[in-house]
Amino acid sequence: METDVLIIGGGATGTGIARDLSLRGIDCILVEQNDINAGATGANHGLLHSGARYVAKDPEAARECHEEGEILKKYAPQCVEDTGGIFIAVKGDDEKYIADFPSMCERARVPFREISVDEAIEKESMLSKNIIAAFEVQDATIDPFRLSIDNISDARSRGAKLLRFSKVTEFIKDNGKIKAARVVNSKTGEVLDIEASQFVNASGAWADIVAQMAGAKISMLYSKGSLLVTSSRMNQRVINRLRQAGDADILVPGGTVSIIGTTSVEIDNLDDIRPTAEEVDQIIKEGAFMVPELETTRYIRAYAGVRPLVWAKGQGGRSISRNYTLLGHEDEGLENFITITGGKLTTYRLMAEKTCDLIAQRLKNNTPCKTHETILNPSHEGEWTEPGRSSRDWLKSEGPKETLLCECEMVTTSMVDNIVSDIKAEGKIPTLKEIGLRSRVGKGPCQGAFCSFRVTSHLYNQGVFTGDNGMPEIRDFINERWKGFRPLIRDKELVQTDLQEAFLCGLFGIEN
């Protein structure tokens, strides 16, 4: 297999690069070791930063966030909900930081408006009564799944190729130049050598691992961040704590839920990234300073992602720049290898632009970037990831004309059928996990106990599942959800878990 550019990593950056290149007429293949958004892109707040969060530490990054946010609101509106945001300080927070905040925003040219405490509480009734200062900013929310899926779909419509579950295991070099990447398909075991002129390492937290295969080295720090999803939407706007970045100081609404996070825990390896019970307790305790109801609300899921932070001596955790790192690796004797890592979801497009500028320059292609002025076409594949979308559609239809397989998130038989045919059209095997990735199945309060079983029955009826593979499908799916539910089980959640186990193990004996 041959191409101009091989992109390694299917997160926001990798899929953004694929689209940018394809708009410049450059041929590319994207390989992803897992599935689209399996890394940090699929495990963050889904926040489109106004930039206000970074005005103290990194005015330049703050400004970039503001500009990129405005571009995405305009050119990828299907992925964005323009909620607006509020920064609030509570009693005991650093008053100097509060006093300096307006001038810091001005310095970074990040728009803001000071509002009274009463106005803040009127806008967001869940806010703590202990607020001492409030500012309005231009935060918004973004659906990272829809974003990456729309980007890769757009790229594919222009000739780009996508290979998922395809892991680079080595680079084949020839006189300091990389000739090909050896790629192994984790599902089939098939080995493939892909030749390219340029190789782009957009593997996020895995950047150093990939770079080492190419003979380069990147000093990275892995910072795990955990987040919790509430069972219902608690706020309309993004709520930020007005202080130096700390644990659990952003509450982001997303469709029918809210997401509170994050933590920052240094970890050594990327093998099994799970939120812990301690992190859950810490997030709830801190979050409750902004929104007291976070103490008592029901949570449906915890998840964790790893921030790919590029390390420089004497820095750690949150003090490392959230700005991106673009490396040409020329000084390491590599002439066709590029690494792009670090950064934020909000600036993914800019990161892709800068990376593609370097690629274009190396390929002597003069076509300029177009992603800042071209509408990102909404893809068919991305539309079911929108929370609340399926219930709206179902309610709009005249009475139930089909069966609801997932009653919590109102996913119907035809939606599942559509997703299955999309997956098949991509030449892949439809699994419950794949369907879960493309829909809200399993994301409601039942944690997938009932809907995974109903979807499985439906897929047997449709001939999609055959033999005895239905049970392993349910086990895999439930365990995937379990990963995010287990650390959340504190009190009320025990009731649901009791019922779930009585059904899956007591009645069905799936554990055997």
Binding site: T276, N461, T466, G470, I489, G506, L507, G509, N512
Partner: protein, 445 residues
Amino acid sequence: MEKKNSIHCQLAVIGTGMAGIAASSFAVHRGIDVVQVGDTSEISFASGCLDLLGANPQGSRNFFDNPWEGIDSLLNINPAHPYGSVSKDSIRAGMNEFMGFLSSVNLPCSNIHDKNQRVITPAGTLKTTYCVPRSMEAGADAVRNKKRILLVDIKGLKGFSSTQMIENLKKHDIKAEGATIEFPGKENFYELNCERMAWDLEMGGGFDLFASRIKEVAKDIDVIGLPAILGIYDSEGLRTRLEKEIGIPVFEIPTFSPSVTGLRMKEKFLERLKETGVKLYSSTKIKNIEKDKDSNFVFIIETGLQKIQVKAENVILASGRFFGRGLGAKNGEIYESLFQLPVTQPESRNSWYEDDFFSKKGHEINRCGIKTDSFFRPLNKDGEVFDENLYAVGSILANQDWKREKSGSGIAIASSYSAVSAVSRKGSIGKKSSKSDGTTSKSAA
């Protein structure tokens, strides 16, 4: 204005799940006068089968053909299991008496050769159980004797696919065919539910059409399996009528959430207990319980505008685990809701559950619960009997994992049997109480 009445009883049973119902039925049979209160009941989810012991998750066995040998093997590894406090004779006596109770409400169930039986689930797995309701007997027999089964599913009923069952039964060497029928009067419905269909078959006029639609698809087979929808009040009558119409044995497959098999039990049990003289207050929750100077347990039942004060000489706590709200958790500690009895604790919240939901050995939190003496009297933190007249039975007990062991009904029945026997041996019991404040109690002799 609210009225306040007072009742005195020999025994208060707290909980209306399997254990509470078993306890009340045993007690009333022994001439004990009983007040029973309960809130949510797990029984609405019951499969209708009575499990005794199917597996030992702490050991290596995930299927016991003979539950009695299974109990020996279980107690070898886990001597503190609730079964360790009851002799096999008592377990058997309890099971037999409870089966008699089931027959008395026309939900007969039976056992074959004193061994475990296997019934087909909607997943196409085989559930190990000890007693099978008559409505499932033909299914258990078909599994045992590898008969030709026709599995019938219903258009619009989700979570019940004959194809899924057929494919999964193949690995047990069971050959089944499938057919889909439309439910009479609901041909164009996309959201069928089992409870509604059970009502329709029992009350509505669709039964004959339902029978003829099944008959049409039943060719060259020995036995027919249907989702459990054959009525709630006269399920045996409906099923035998259906068999007569079709001319082939019919069995039911238990569904879930809520299950018709569970609803049947709940409706009939509660009705029967009331008939036999149990003063039953379902859908009530008691918040607090105290002791008076005569050593009675005292608590208040609120029903509508009425407040009833209950004084009970003995209490059987059958309040269940987390689903039944018998146990709860706060700040990583598991507590018992009513008496604040000591609960055995996993080391920390991190060790409650395994990383693998389906972990073979089961989750540590499921083995925590109330420790008792050999008469099922809870122990205080010093290991002494908490109260001479307080008993704890059923799933709230420590050192068992009923969901993995498939021992839920067995533990409920055996512990209730043992606790009620202890209560009935007390001097003042067995004769009608003279202290019962003018209320009468019938004994079901």
